[in-house]
Amino acid sequence: MIEGILVEGLIYSIMVLGVFITFRILDFPDLTVDGSFPLGAVIGAQVIISGMPVSLGLLAAFTGGGIAGGITAVIHNKLKVPNLLAGILTMTMLYSVNIRILGNRANVPLLHNKTVITGIHSISEGLMKTEYATLIFFIIFVYIIKKLLDLFFHTDLGLTLGAMGNNEQMIISQGVNPEILKIIGLALSNGLVALSGALAAQYLGFADVSMGIGIIVSGLASVMIGEFIFKSNKIAVLTLSAVIGSIIFKGIMYFARIYGYAVRMTPNDLKLITGLMIIVLLILSKTKIFKRKKGLE
C-alpha cells in the first residue's frame, strides 16, 4: 500500500513540477495541463501499441506536451488574450485531439503491452519484489528530472525565466523577448505534464481521455502542500517540496478513498475534497504570511 502511494505520488510529481514551473516561477496560471496530461497518456499509449519502444513513447509524449504548451503561449502572446483563457482554449481543443490520437476512442487498455512497468518487472525478476523495483525505478527517475530542472534554473536562461515571472519589465529592459521565454517555459512545463500522463497511463494500465479532468487542481494542491512544509528561495528546495507535496497529496487522497466511506464519502467526492483542501491551504498560508509579517515588525 505505502509503495503504491509513493509510486503514484512520484509519477504525478512530474506533473506537479510542471505546474510549479508555470504557477510559481513564470507566474502564468496555465490550464493547458488538463489537456496535456491525457495528451501524454494517449501519445505514449499509441506508440506502445504500435510496437515501438517505451522510451520513444515517453519522448513523444514529452514533445507533444511541449507543443501544446507552446501553442498556449503563442495564443497568449499573439492574440493578447489573458493566460487563463489561452490555456482553456488549448485544453478544450486537446480533448478532441486526444480522442483522435486514440483512433476515435475515449480509452484504451494497456494490459497486454510492453510498458515501463513491465520493463521494470522483467529486469527485477528474481532480484526483488516488483513493487520495490517499481518504487526504486521511479525514485531514480524523478530524482534525475528534479536534478535536471535544478540545473536548468541555474543556467542564464533559467534565471531569466525566473525573473520574468517576478518582473517582466526587467526582462524586457535586459533585451530579452518575453514572448519567447513564455513559449520555452510553457513548453517545458507541459512537456513534463504529458510525460507524467504517459507514465500514469502505463502504471494504471489504461489511457483515458478524461484522465486529465481536475489534474491542474490536484497539481496546485500538491504545490501548495509542499510550500506549506518548506519555505525557501533555493530552487533545489522548491522542486523537492513539489515532489514531497505530490506524495502527501496522493496519501491524503488514498486515505480519503479507503476510509471515506465511514463518513459516507464516495470517490466522486474526491474532487470536492481537493478543492476544499486548496481553500483551506490558502486560508492557512494567508494567516501564516500574516504571522510572519507581524513577526518582522
Partner: protein, 264 residues
C-alpha cells in the same frame, strides 16, 4: 546618436479620452550628452522616454538611433543599447531572487542560453562592482533583493544597468521615491558612472536645482512640447528663479504658486 523627427503621440485617438501627450517633438541627442528634463506633472516626460525606449510607437513621426530608423523596433530589441531606470525601485530588479541572480541576468543584454555563467569568477566580479556602492552589499550576494531598502535597490539597479555599458541611459525621476540622503547618494553614483563610462544620459527630475546642476543641456517640457532648450554656458548661468521666470515668459501665464508649476 538619437534623433526624434516630428514625433507625436496621441493616446485613445478618436475617442472622448483623446490625449495629445507629445506634440511635434524634434530632438537630437548627441553622444556624451547629459540632458536633464523638467516639466509639470503630465507634461509628457515619461511618454517621451517610452517612445525613445520603444514601449510604444509614436502616432506619427520617426525615431532614429545611430541613423537607422528604429521607430517600430520593439522595446526588448532597443533595450540592447538603451538602459532605463524608473521612479519605482521595484521595477528594476526581480525581488524574489538573490542579488547575484539579479546581477547575472543584467550583466549581459540579449537572449540567454543554457550556460551556467554564475560561478566563482563572476561572483568575485560582482563583489568588486558592489564595492563601488559602498553599501556593504558585497557581503549579501545570496540575499533576496526584497530585503534591500529602496535606496539600496535603486543603487543596485543603477549598478546593474551600467554593467552592460548601454549607449544611452534614461533616468525617470529615479531618486524621487528616496529620502533626501539616499537620493543624494544615488545621484552622486549616477554622476560618477556617467563620467566614468562616458554614458549618454537623459534624466527627468522634479528638482530644478538638480536639473541645473547636472548635465550639459536642459529641456523644459509643458503640455507635450519642449518649450525651452538650453545648454552649455547659458545653462550654467541659470538659477531656479530665472527658470520660473522663463516659464512665464514663454507661456505668458501667471500662477499663484510658482513652485507648483515645475515641482511637486
Amino acid at each position: 546618436m538619437i534623433r526624434l523627427e516630428n514625433v507625436n503621440k496621441i493616446f485613445h485617438q478618436g475617442t472622448v479620452n483623446e490625449n495629445h501627450a507629445i506634440r511635434n517633438v524634434n530632438l537630437q541627442i548627441k553622444e556624451g550628452d547629459f540632458i536633464t528634463i523638467i516639466g509639470s506633472n503630465g507634461a509628457g516626460k515619461s511618454t517621451l522616454f517610452n517612445l525613445i525606449a520603444g514601449t510604444y510607437a509614436p502616432s506619427t513621426g520617426n525615431i532614429f538611433l545611430n541613423n537607422s530608423d528604429v521607430t517600430n523596433e520593439p522595446e526588448y530589441k532597443r533595450a540592447k543599447y538603451i538602459g532605463r531606470i524608473f521612479q519605482n525601485p521595484s521595477l528594476g530588479t526581480a525581488s524574489n531572487m538573490t542579488l547575484e541572480d539579479n546581477m547575472m541576468i543584467c550583466s549581459r543584454k540579449g537572449f540567454k542560453g543554457l550556460k551556467i555563467s554564475l560561478n566563482k569568477k563572476t561572483r568575485e566580479y560582482f563583489k568588486k562592482e558592489l564595492l563601488l556602492l559602498d553599501m556593504d552589499l558585497e557581503n549579501r550576494l545570496t540575499d533576496n533583493v526584497q530585503l534591500l531598502s529602496g535606496g539600496q535597490r535603486q543603487s543596485l539597479t543603477l549598478l546593474m544597468m551600467v554593467l552592460s555599458r548601454p549607449q544611452l541611459i534614461l533616468l525617470d525621476e529615479h531618486t524621487a521615491a528616496l529620502d533626501p540622503k539616499n537620493a543624494a547618494k544615488v545621484l552622486d553614483l549616477t554622476q560618477k558612472f556617467v563620467s566614468e563610462y562616458g554614458l549618454t544620459t537623459v534624466m527627468i527630475t522634479h528638482n530644478m536645482g538638480h536639473a541645473i546642476e547636472y548635465g550639459n543641456r536642459m529641456l523644459m517640457m509643458d503640455k507635450g512640447e519642449i518649450i525651452f532648450d538650453v545648454s552649455g554656458e547659458e545653462k550654467k548661468k541659470l538659477s531656479v528663479k530665472n527658470l520660473v521666470d522663463k516659464f512665464h515668459e514663454i507661456r505668458k501665464t501667471e500662477f499663484q504658486n510658482d513652485e507648483t508649476l515645475l515641482s511637486r
